[in-house]
């Protein structure tokens, strides 16, 4: 498949980032070369952000609130109280944007505590579009949308994932939070080529990129965020940067936190993969 260099991304330069978690606050404070961190918005009290998050702001890092509970793909409109909280966190952290998921987390009054996929149908697109537009009206900063890893798929899909995400981004003017680990997981678990699928996403709308670890169990890849980043995901980082200069790339680690050196080595491996992609893109552009 031909991969032409795409137009520059649409948001500010973020550089290298990491998901801020209390357990790795010390490592983050000591890490060199970071441009941004991401915080789980629901864990932040806008009146009293954690000292580690305030320290990141003090160092000049961009802090991006990442929502996990809006359930933008749910049948019910997003809850106004949750939207207000997200807006207040963004305001308190002076965030240039916020991010959420293309997923549902509750239905019928019950909470999954997990990001569940939506059907890839035109009906679901309509509901998502209305929910995202409701969220955008409540937020003072741009919203980036992340596609999720899903072991289970709804029957009756009317389009592939990249087309579904592209349609949603196009209809809402939202930004894209491209998760290369989710792409890797879905491609392997549902039998398609991740690098081919990558070019179908709206890469010129990328706000930033997620990279997380995972593990193989019984022939299925699980996007756990509690294991090291696998080589196949690093290859996707390189592929992406060979196509476009994404504004930022961020490592997500949520559990079984490794030693600080290991975390720093993972950041370095991601940066190296992005660098290899950069050089391929530069060579192609100069040819």
């Amino acid at each position: 498949m031909t991969r032409a260099t795409q137009s520059p991304p649409v948001t500010r330069r973020l550089g290298r980032g990491i998901g801020w978690r209390p357990e790795i606050d010390g490592a983050i404070r000591r890490a060199d070369g970071l441009g941004f961190v991401e915080v789980v918005a629901e864990t932040i009290d806008p009146r009293h952000p954690p000292t580690g998050v305030r320290a990141a702001l003090g160092r000049g890092l961009v802090v991006i609130p990442h929502g996990i509970s809006l359930s933008l793909g749910g049948g019910e409109p997003p809850d106004r109280r949750r939207l207000r909280h997200l807006a207040r966190v963004a305001d308190r952290l002076d965030a240039p944007l916020v991010s959420e998921h293309i997923a549902f987390v509750r239905a019928g009054g019950r909470e999954a505590g997990h990001l569940l996929p939506v059907p890839r149908t035109h009906e679901a697109l309509d509901i998502l579009t209305e929910n995202v537009q409701t969220a955008q009206r409540a937020l003072a900063v741009p919203l980036a949308l992340e596609h999720v890893a899903a072991l289970v798929e709804w029957p009756g899909a009317e389009m592939d994932e990249a087309t579904f995400v592209s349609e949603l981004i196009d209809r809402t003017s939202a930004l894209l939070l491209l998760d290369l680990s989710n792409l890797y997981a879905n491609a392997h678990n549902h039998g398609y080529d991740a690098a081919d699928a990558l070019v179908g996403f709206p890469l010129d709308r990328i706000a930033y990129v997620h990279v997380g670890g995972g593990v193989w169990r019984d022939g299925t890849y699980h996007d756990t965020h509690s294991h090291p980043v696998v080589p196949g995901v690093l290859s996707l980082v390189e592929e992406l940067y060979a196509i476009t200069d994404a504004p930022g790339v961020l490592l997500e680690r949520d559990d079984d936190f490794p030693a600080e050196e290991e975390l720093i080595a993972e950041l370095a491996a991601i940066a190296a993969a992005a660098g290899r992609g950069d050089r391929r893109r530069a060579n192609r552009d100069s040819a």
Binding site: F104, A107, G113, Q133, V152, E153, S173
Partner: protein, 179 residues
């Protein structure tokens, strides 16, 4: 996708009829219940994939409970996984590891009460460390909280306060005397 490269300031607003949303939400609720409880998957889904997804989801919930409730998990030992699986199969809504663990501890107590005395498992909730964990969990789940617990070994009272502007504050009073 010709408009990808430009920002449309005012995308046309979408209004989905409530009836359409209700049907869509009901289908999501059916899937959510099946994944959370591990049975009755809706028609049309790949059963093996759905079971893998449900298993993964319940494993994640169990891990969150274990993480938030180390004393309870330690008290249950090898029984933890079996009993937390039984709890999750009848509790299809998650409120996070801390709140789920509190429900789990209460469910364990009720399950223990339902057993004939001769078959009653050791109630992990009676250990001092789990009593402390339960009281602290209640304090963390409420913005305003006062709780008192009597502990056995050594005999003492712990008093836990939580105000909207603080973390839980814990005080310990020795009671003295022998058990």
């Amino acid at each position: 996708m010709g408009s990808r490269g430009r920002l449309r300031r005012d995308p046309p607003p979408v209004r989905v009829p409530p009836r359409v949303r209700a049907v869509y939400a009901a289908r999501q609720a059916d899937l959510l219940d099946a994944l959370m409880c591990g049975d009755a998957y809706p028609a049309g889904f790949d059963l093996a994939r759905a079971e893998a997804a449900g298993h993964s989801l319940r494993r994640k919930r169990a891990r969150a409970i274990r993480h938030a409730w180390p004393a309870l998990a330690t008290a249950l030992g090898r029984d933890f996984q079996v009993r937390v699986d039984a709890f999750l199969s009848v509790h299809p809504s998650s409120a996070g590891g801390l709140a789920d663990g509190l429900d789990f501890a209460q469910w364990l107590g009720q399950a223990s009460d339902r057993e004939p005395h001769s078959h009653r498992p050791v109630d992990p909730v009676v250990t001092d460390n789990v009593r402390i964990e339960i009281t602290l969990a209640r304090a963390r789940l409420h913005r305003l909280f006062v709780g008192v617990r009597r502990l056995d070994d050594p005999r003492r009272l712990i008093v836990v306060f939580r105000f909207p502007w603080t973390r839980p504050l814990v005080y310990c009073l020795a009671l003295g005397g022998m058990r």
